[in-house]
């Protein structure tokens, strides 16, 4: 704890800002039920009410409280993005490490399959698949996780490739250690720092990707509060000079900025770029 605080004190302002933002979002997401003044889908008044004491940020296109939906949106959008990123890392990381360790046809098979997947534009592929399987949240999570895992795979494989040729791995192999042991004890610990940084960046991309899908109407489905679809639902207001519909977009931006700042700092610390 003390070490963490000390670390934080040495961090640049941007990183502190990032950490603060992330912690706030997590707290808001966890305590959404207690924080939101109204229910997630509760219709509380007329449509498009202006900002007032009663509805701090006004109401949306169906007369739901904008602030409450923003707060619940934190839970839904951030939660789903986090889950998706974890899954993508599990998939991409594991296959990437396997490919690097085993080489040969496994590597060829995985790499070529990933090449094909990457050649299809992700957004359009997602649109297609989501129309086929229907836009449920599990489907959304799986589809995006698979698509994003391609990039994780590439990084994991590249990083692991450099480690596999190291002497200590060779030694472990000669010792007769099993595959799982080598990956877990020798490769993973050394590959971790770049993967952790990548996790932050991937999270941002997944997050933006989900919002783009929601914006196009194929992401998280109404009436679930979600920042991407909230922008789309209320976009007409912008014409009339009302910035309320931009708030969910700003909420997305703030979090990704925060994560990016922290990742940047982390990369800076681990990569030894002291210049």
């Amino acid at each position: 704890m003390e070490a963490a605080l000390k670390l934080l004190r040495s961090a640049p302002a941007t990183a502190i800002f990032g950490v603060t933002v992330i912690v706030t979002y997590v707290l808001v997401a966890i305590f959404a039920h207690w924080l939101a003044p109204y229910g997630e889908t509760q219709i509380v008044g007329a449509e498009y009410l202006p900002w007032s004491d009663q509805y701090l940020l006004g109401t949306d296109n169906l007369g739901r409280d904008m602030l409450s939906r923003l707060i619940f949106g934190a839970r839904n959008t951030v939660g789903i993005a986090f889950l998706t990123t974890c899954l993508a890392f599990l998939l991409g990381g594991l296959t990437g490490l396997l490919a690097a360790t085993l080489r040969g046809w496994v590597d060829q098979l995985f790499s070529r399959a990933i090449d094909v997947l990457m050649a299809i534009p992700a957004l359009i592929f997602a649109l297609l698949i989501l129309t086929v399987v229907g836009t449920s949240i599990p489907a959304l999570v799986c589809v995006i996780a698979v698509l994003e895992s391609t990039r994780v795979y590439r990084l994991a494989r590249a990083v692991a490739m450099n480690i596999v040729v190291m002497d200590f791995v060779e030694v472990a192999r000669l010792r007769g250690e099993g595959l799982a042991w080598i990956i877990r004890r020798e490769i993973l610990p050394n590959a971790l720092p770049p993967l952790v940084a990548e996790f932050g960046l991937r999270f941002c991309f997944v997050f933006l990707f989900i919002s783009a899908l929601s914006f196009l109407g194929l992401g998280i489905q109404p009436p679930t509060a979600d920042w991407g679809s909230m922008v789309r639902e209320n976009a007409t207001l912008i014409t009339f000079g009302d910035i309320t519909p931009l708030l969910p977009a700003a909420a997305i931006a703030l979090l990704t900025v925060g994560v990016n700042f922290v990742v940047d700092w982390f990369l800076h610390k681990t990569s030894g770029l002291k210049t």
């Binding site: 299809i120 912008i238 977009a249 700003a250 700042f261 940047d264």
Partner: protein, 318 residues
């Protein structure tokens, strides 16, 4: 040089294989979509009888593998076929849209690539100054904004409030060049902000990475100005990662702009593909996805070739 040709040939062959698999995947996914073209086109007005006639006319009642082979046969002879929905030639249908997409991508690239490289080099030159930090924070923020946020903010300020630019990109085949640039500027600016950060940061990182190497140290000790060191000694060697990231972003400008097209009603390829998916117009979907995939494969290949050419050690590898 011969090595490069061999590599290009290998990669092209692999690319063709990739395209083939992509076409299979896309075909299968469209097959799996609920409802078919006949139902989607006839909509509420469909009767079982007209749906049957429609299917028969378009050959939709044939088994899937036969339709795929038929399509593939045409494709191998360079014939994209016709749109199933309105019988227009796909080559004709797509060429205009592809032109628009390339124009927008080109415009965004012309703005963003020089800007990103300049800012990146400057940031490396003046690293750890206020300028460097400001550029860094700006880049990190702009890459963090969802595209539609940037687009709507630009519309709100530049179109609705100031009225400098049109809020929709109404361009046609007869629009003059400068008019076209003017009407496409807002979407191009949006895309610039989206892709610039990535390229800029890579430029800066690649150059700074090299600054610690002995030959740069040598150049510096010779008393060269930092500007000369960076431009003449560091930059040429940093080109390979920079080219890679530029290629990646150019590919994105071509294939990943559906959201921007939707917001600005820009008649590009992405919109065409989304439309065709929703109407199950499989031939158009196939053509679009092949173009996208080919763009990706070719740009990647170009990047690899360029980074080899730009790096003597790779060029003359033993």
């Amino acid at each position: 040089m011969g090595k490069i040709l061999v590599m290009v040939a290998q990669r092209l062959a692999l690319g063709l294989l990739t395209l083939f698999i992509v076409s299979l995947i896309i075909f299968l996914s469209v097959e799996l979509l609920p409802g078919d073209l006949a139902q989607e086109i006839l909509g509420q007005g469909a009767t079982p009888e007209t749906v049957a006639v429609f299917r028969h006319q378009l050959g939709l009642d044939l088994p899937a593998h036969i339709r795929y082979l038929h399509w593939l046969g045409g494709m191998l002879q360079g014939d994209f076929g016709q749109s199933l929905a309105n019988k227009r030639d796909i080559a004709e249908l797509i060429s205009g849209r592809l032109g628009n997409t390339l124009f927008l991508a080109g415009l965004a690239a012309v703005i963003s690539v020089p800007l990103a490289l300049t800012l990146g080099i400057l940031a490396a030159l003046y690293r750890n100054t206020f300028f460097d930090r400001a550029v860094n924070v700006f880049a990190l923020s702009s890459v963090s904004f969802p595209e539609f946020f940037i687009a709507y903010v630009l519309i709100l300020f530049l179109a609705v409030q100031l009225g400098w630019f049109p809020s929709i990109s109404n361009i046609g085949p007869n629009t003059e060049f400068f008019e076209r640039v003017y009407r496409s500027l807002l979407p191009a600016l949006t895309l610039t902000l989206v892709v610039m950060a990535h390229m800029m940061r890579m430029t800066r990182a690649a150059i700074i990475n090299l600054m610690a190497s002995p030959y740069i140290e040598m150049a510096r000790l010779k008393g060269l100005t930092p500007r000369r060191v960076i431009l003449h000694h560091a930059l040429p060697n940093a080109l390979s990662p920079i080219i890679n990231v530029v290629a990646l972003n150019l590919a994105y400008l071509v294939v990943g702009v559906v959201v921007v097209e939707v917001v600005f009603v820009y008649p590009g390829l992405g919109q065409l593909m989304v439309d065709s998916v929703s109407k199950r117009d499989i031939t158009v979907v196939q053509a679009c996805s092949l173009i996208f995939a080919a763009t990706y494969v070719l740009l990647n290949l170009t990047a690899d070739v360029l980074s080899i050419v730009s790096n003597p050690r790779l060029m003359h590898a033993r």
